[in-house]
């Protein structure tokens, strides 16, 4: 047995297809020629986060709200410009939103963290639009969410 561990070559298999990797791992475990067949642990932790978002209604709702807020602000150019201006005044720099993407590790947490950081600027958006008399209407859903939600 120890011969295996004296300068033993290690073979690793990679495929972009998750189903291929899962099947390969299963075959490796069944085959007694292989001592170990491991999986990618960071991937599993990412899957855990996705499961948390799926399984817990309040977490799911918060993620939905974050995505809605980020998309709503970014799709209207005037609101985006105004938001940048408020950020510059408040924090001295312009901050961009981070959009939650299922395939990017960490975007659930990062999106929430960034929204938490710019929340005071976000709350100021409706009053700034009123005071600047801009020719843009903040969608009612967005306005309600800004007034009721807290991040």
């Amino acid at each position: 047995m120890n011969e295996h561990f004296v300068g033993a070559p290690m073979f690793t298999f990679y495929s972009d297809s998750p189903s291929v990797m899962i099947k390969l791992r299963r075959l490796c475990i069944q085959d007694t020629e292989f001592l170990f067949a491991f999986g990618c642990s960071p991937h599993v932790l990412h899957n855990l986060c996705m499961d948390l978002v799926k399984e817990f209604p309040v977490v799911k709702l918060i993620v939905k709200q974050i995505v809605f807020l980020v998309k709503s602000v970014c799709k209207i150019h005037l609101i985006q410009q105004l938001f940048d201006k408020i950020c510059k005044e408040k924090y001295g720099i312009t901050l961009v939103f981070i959009l939650f993407t299922k395939t990017r590790w960490g975007t659930v947490r990062d999106a929430a963290k960034r929204l938490n950081r710019v929340w005071t600027a976000m709350c100021q958006l409706p009053t700034e639009i009123m005071s600047n008399d801009l020719d843009v209407d903040l969608p009612n859903d967005l306005k309600d969410l800004i007034l009721t939600a807290s991040f």
Binding site: M1, A37, F38, P42, V44, L45, E55, P57, W105, F151
Partner: protein, 201 residues
């Protein structure tokens, strides 16, 4: 939300790094399970999490680990002296059963891993099991081979006493050198300039 996921993503960032050790996989999942169990009351209230939900989170952690788990993870975790205190503290805080993220207890998983390594060699199995037993009951004084917990486990096992751990040393050295995720392999391909090659396309 940020508090809920902070530990998970800290573990994720650590595990995809070069410096992560194989033993830390099990430790990270334990840390995540502990984090879910000890969420601050205001976070639990904000996310509307009941005790049943926290139990469900623990089950999810176990389920996710099972998708990649082999007894070798438990063996690596048990033979890394860095995590001795973590194990004791978690056992005191929760219960001993909290440490068992697999189907069996950690020690049983370790024995299973050794059995798989030796295949049909009964004598070698007995020798390795007894050396593993010696490791678990070792006296942690300054002369201990594993006193410097800030070294990587593979380095400590490389310097371990041959007269005590002669059979266990080499397999454990190989196990502790294992990468924790696919990122290490991907980085290896990148540094060898084999991302887009005739063999890989």
């Amino acid at each position: 939300m940020e508090v809920l996921l902070s530990v998970v993503y800290s573990c994720l960032s650590y595990l995809e790094g070069d410096e992560s050790t194989f033993s830390s996989v099990y430790a990270c999942f334990l840390a995540v399970a502990h984090h879910f169990r000890t969420l601050p009351p205001d976070v639990r209230a904000a996310l509307d999490l009941s005790n049943a939900d926290v139990d469900k989170m623990h089950t999810l952690v176990c389920h996710c680990l099972k998708t990649i788990f082999l007894p070798t993870h438990a063996l690596a975790f048990r033979t890394d002296p860095l995590f001795d205190d973590l194990r004791d503290n978690l056992a005191k805080l929760h219960m001993d059963a909290f440490l068992n993220l697999g189907d069996l207890t950690i020690l049983q998983e370790c024995k299973k891993a050794i059995k798989r390594m030796v295949a049909i060699d009964i004598l070698l199995n007995r020798l390795m099991q007894s050396e593993f037993g010696l490791y678990t009951i070792r006296v942690e004084d300054n002369d201990d081979d594993f006193a410097d917990i800030f070294s990587m486990p593979q380095h400590m096992w490389a310097l371990a006493d041959d007269s005590v751990y002669s059979h266990l040393k080499k397999p454990l050295l190989a196990i502790h050198k294992m990468p924790t995720g696919a990122s290490a392999g991907e980085r290896n391909h990148k540094s060898a300039n084999r991302v887009h090659s005739r063999n890989r396309s």
